[in-house]
Symmetry: C2
Subunit: 318 residues, 2 copies
């Protein structure tokens, strides 16, 4: 059968890279065809191992993903990489250099690489990222690597789709250690200290151990893996720890629990995002709402009362 | 007139500290009386200078706020401090030490200090924080200092209520510099390098200048102020820069523009939060919704289709 005679869903399910790219673009552009496609292939998802990588910019996440991709390919596993880039009103392209490190794999049909940019709508990005991950899963990829810089809530939401969360640090990631210590950042499943050739690596590993020692006893013990992603050092060990975590959550039944919780949150996030989008449209276009907002600015009506009035209006309208 | 005969609003507007504390508790507990109170006193807001401080944990924000408070009191200005603490499922109390530095001011009637904790509901915390800031404003405080650790979206939302945003760093805040450089973190109005006695201060100032040089020319030039908050060094200079920024946005008309944008966003945030809360309740309590979610978990219905169904149901209900 010629390609043109097969539906996009059929080609996607057969593992066609171009079909996958096209499907993700549909979802990213909020095209109804994209949503219909996800809905159609959804029963074929849930098989891939979804690994999330977060950490400060500059820690070398993309280099690490390139090294892990190489290892998985050597084991004949197919890989999809989804990098979520925050938008910048200030400077663009700073993260682009990282992408280039994945270019070794661009021609390998077993590797699919995609970047997604934050287009301002926070709920929207995370929403689109999950849909993209589901499409990657349906297309038969064995391993899905999600990458974010883990600063804003949108990035945290993206990482929440993963079965295993990896925090990538480098010697000098002082703010991240402080954030872990203060409980501002959640404890991940695996911690990587990349650029481990740095003389301050031992100090950093000690600091991380001290933070982890404050946490609860029992359950999964968070491993700290030293890597030099540029040289490929420590990647085998990281891969082992990832497999250990997977085996652990599988044995404990927490994999299905985690996925259940993530899916619930996702339904809630999508519904909230859509409600917010409708509300934003009414704030922009509705003359009565505009007048109400003007009165908030002139301090006649407080924001909460204005919100109540707007919600009552929209409830009457629907 | 005895205190008991005056309404809470009257006492609040007269600058009574206990009335302010009580009013904020009402808002924090989502008590309808609190919302009514904000609505009543809202016309008396908009006079205070609202300054927002963000930065990684450990940079010394609270010590800096204590030093600034001392300076403002010496100038006979009244001060309110609102610290937004992120919750931690992992470890509590790490930030408590910082609060103690403000204790010099606990007995001064011209200083009001309040902490707010993230109770899980993101929109809720930022919402409550704005209401608290409005109450502080209505109670006649000249200066309102908002403090957050600036990691999650909730903290960013809180800082958005400020007229002037100050990023507090210390030598070694490598992750924050990287985040600024990558455009992940927005450029603030003023940058403070605290703990400036550290030998790496010059290096850090150079790095910040290099990042700022990438930004747009013209307009407000972000000053970098070196402070040693523990010794009170650099606080006068910081205060001058804050006044400069205030004069600048006032002259350019951007103060009212900024406040207009912030108030719009606030109305939207409050409305979205309330919608989300209603939705969460229906997800928990509605048997039909529970069944729908089960079918998402068993991969029969995809999350987006489930969200659509839930939104259609709630539109019919209302």
């Amino acid at each position: 059968m010629a390609d043109s005679e097969r539906t996009l869903a059929e080609r996607l399910l057969a593992g066609d890279k171009r079909a996958l790219a096209r499907a993700i673009s549909l979802v990213e552009n909020d095209d109804p065809e994209g949503w219909a496609l996800v809905s159609e292939v959804y029963p074929r998802t849930g098989r891939a191992a979804v690994l999330g990588f977060t950490g400060p910019p500059g820690a070398g996440k993309s280099t690490l993903l390139a090294a892990l991709t190489k290892l998985e390919r050597a084991r004949e596993n197919t890989v999809a990489v989804l990098s979520v880039d925050p938008s910048s009103p200030f400077t663009h392209g700073a993260l682009l250099g990282d992408r280039i490190r994945l270019s070794d794999h661009f021609l390998d049909p077993g590797v699919f690489i995609r970047s997604m940019a934050n287009r301002g709508a926070l709920g929207g990005l995370s929403e689109a990222a999950l849909q993209a991950a589901l499409l990657m899963d349906a297309s038969g990829r064995d391993v899905i690597l999600l990458e974010t810089v883990g600063v804003g809530q949108a990035e945290v939401d993206v990482i929440d789709h993963a079965d295993t969360v990896v925090l990538v640090l480098m010697p000098g990631s002082g703010d991240s250690i402080q954030a872990l210590k203060a409980g501002v950042m959640e404890i991940p499943d695996v911690i990587v200290v990349n650029k481990a050739e740095h003389p301050l690596t031992d100090t950093m590993v000690r600091e991380i151990k001290a933070v982890l020692a404050l946490g609860p006893r029992g359950g999964w013990q968070v491993p700290i893996v030293r890597t030099e992603a540029v040289r490929g050092h420590g990647i085998e060990e990281l891969s082992e720890k990832l497999a250990d975590h997977r085996a652990y959550i599988h044995a404990e039944g927490t994999l299905s629990e985690r996925r259940r919780r993530n899916l619930m949150n996702e339904v809630l996030a999508i519904a909230t995002f859509r409600m917010r989008r409708e509300l934003e449209a009414s704030l922009r276009d509705d003359a009565a709402v505009q007048e109400l907002l003007d009165r908030v600015v002139t301090r006649e009506i407080d924001p909460a009362s204005a919100a109540t009035t707007i919600l009552e209006r929209s409830a009457v309208d629907s």
